[in-house]
Assembly symmetry: C2
Homo-oligomer: 345 residues x 2
Amino acid sequence: MGRVTLKTIAEHVGVSRMTVSNAFSRPDQLSEDLRARILSAADELGYAGPDPAARALARGRTGVIGMVLTNSPRDAFTDDVAVGFVRAVAGSLADAGYSLVLLHSSGESGVVPARDIAMDGAIVYSCAPAMSAYTALRERRLPIVNVEGSPLPGVPDISIDNAAGAYQAARHLVELGHSRIAVVVDALDADNRPSSEISLETASTTIAARMDGWMRALDEAGIVPTLVGTPALDIDAVLRERVDRMLDDPPTAVLAFSDLAALEVMERARDRGIRVPEQLSVVGFDDNPLAARVSPPLTTVRQDIDAKGEAAVKALLALLREEDAESPPPLPTALVVRSSTAPPS
Amino acid sequence: MGRVTLKTIAEHVGVSRMTVSNAFSRPDQLSEDLRARILSAADELGYAGPDPAARALARGRTGVIGMVLTNSPRDAFTDDVAVGFVRAVAGSLADAGYSLVLLHSSGESGVVPARDIAMDGAIVYSCAPAMSAYTALRERRLPIVNVEGSPLPGVPDISIDNAAGAYQAARHLVELGHSRIAVVVDALDADNRPSSEISLETASTTIAARMDGWMRALDEAGIVPTLVGTPALDIDAVLRERVDRMLDDPPTAVLAFSDLAALEVMERARDRGIRVPEQLSVVGFDDNPLAARVSPPLTTVRQDIDAKGEAAVKALLALLREEDAESPPPLPTALVVRSSTAPPS
DNA sequence: CTGAAAGCGCTTACAG
DNA sequence: CTGAAAGCGCTTACAG
């Protein structure tokens, strides 16, 4: 009998299509009684409600918000901080009646979700402006909010106060009495050189801000740290090797750009019999759920990932209401001192 | 100048709308040269490509697959096993050119994503058949795959071999010499009674299968366990209280329906000075990433969550191709013996 | 290789 | 309170 549409029901009940449409979408436009008759006819005919795709086209809105993550969902979902962010965003969006669609980068399938998926707006998490998914979104002129990425004109930016957090972390080490300090960052091909020889031009905004904070505190104390960097977000092979090389002539303390990197440092140190914190202090960043659980528990800089997700959604909802696209002030951070830091021996 | 559509470009180039459509969607239908002219005009006019909502309506497919999780995304994303599943599904879908949309249960906003979001199919993870989102999906006659849920006619079912895994877990305790054993389950209002007094009718299929496995091994050994249950997926208050009550007269071993529940038992035991595994052996289920990290590391039943996600996507893609809706055989499980189990003292 | 026709299923003003 | 008209932006056969 073909597909059941508004028309099928309209004919069945003996009214026009738009009256049936009204029964579903604008209940106040018709009598209780007629509406009940229409709804029961729909039920009888197995009609589940107006087709969402048709409705999206007619209304010009889909109820869907996209999210593009740094890497593939497979990678992103391996990082508890990213997962926490997705969780917070999905929750806040749900409260506002929106659903979240995960936009992977274009793969071999030829599909580019950022270009081909119907949505009302998107949140871009920790992406370079040149990333293809991000570009596609902008070409569509979709409302976009940028999170921990490089600021772009007209795109609201959500981020924590990376510089302040990093400053506190470095300050903590200085106050403990450390002066031989290494800084471990990503997205920077530093390769174990003194910081004075390094240019930071390639770093992401987030990393650059953290560098600013660390360096300000170290500068104030007259300390020139060693920089250990990786050319990309390659937490694995390259980072491991360079951390290992750094430990050949170990500093007394390390500032890491993330808890995951800090854990890597702690593991490498353990392998070589270097004791944390007695011989090496380590400070992370993020307060990853793991940080409190490892041994020794990691000193780190906490960020409120739920607040970040809420702020991103709030900014996007404002954009959807066509309000001004203003970036809120950076979210606060807090140093959490646990047991991975101590005075140098 | 209004919105740029196929028509705008067609007029600009001097061809018909469908030729422009072909330039984007069926490149083999027109000359290289004409296509290049069209594409460059599109670029010039700031046209990002055919509108996805309109395309979805015309083509009858959206490129989006929905996922409904037991609870709100906020809750689901707190459980590493659920996160692992989402990760695996999102990854497999991306490989096939589909994007994943997270379908929350209807909230106060009046929006019911399972009913109102345009999609081509959905995966239902660990949901009761009566759950409203699940019902809405079925009313729409969307292709659906059910994961760790109660089997429904015509809906392919993906699950691990819960019974076999549970059997191995219970067998392990029996072989260690335990005979005073408690079983901790959810979705069952057991309230610390001997298993012989309990009816299992309210349990989910997953729990019921695990119960079958545990009971078979215990029956074979002539053991009647104590059942500790919670009325719902309420891992918190109720479970804590009942586990506490159980520990008033502790068994020598506990079989828990999940690693999270097992950790709860271990924590309660620690609070009361009951040593694991010396005084109490604990076996979990799932091999949650946490299981290997806690102390003592937890003996548990491992399931391959990536394989489960892949299997779910594979079954759904078959459905989308209108192939037969067959449930694959249950995925294998394996007992992982760590340090939370030992012979009774 | 190109285009005229019909259609996807709904909603939005607007008139009665 | 109800309905006729126009439109959302695209694609799918099909004819030339």
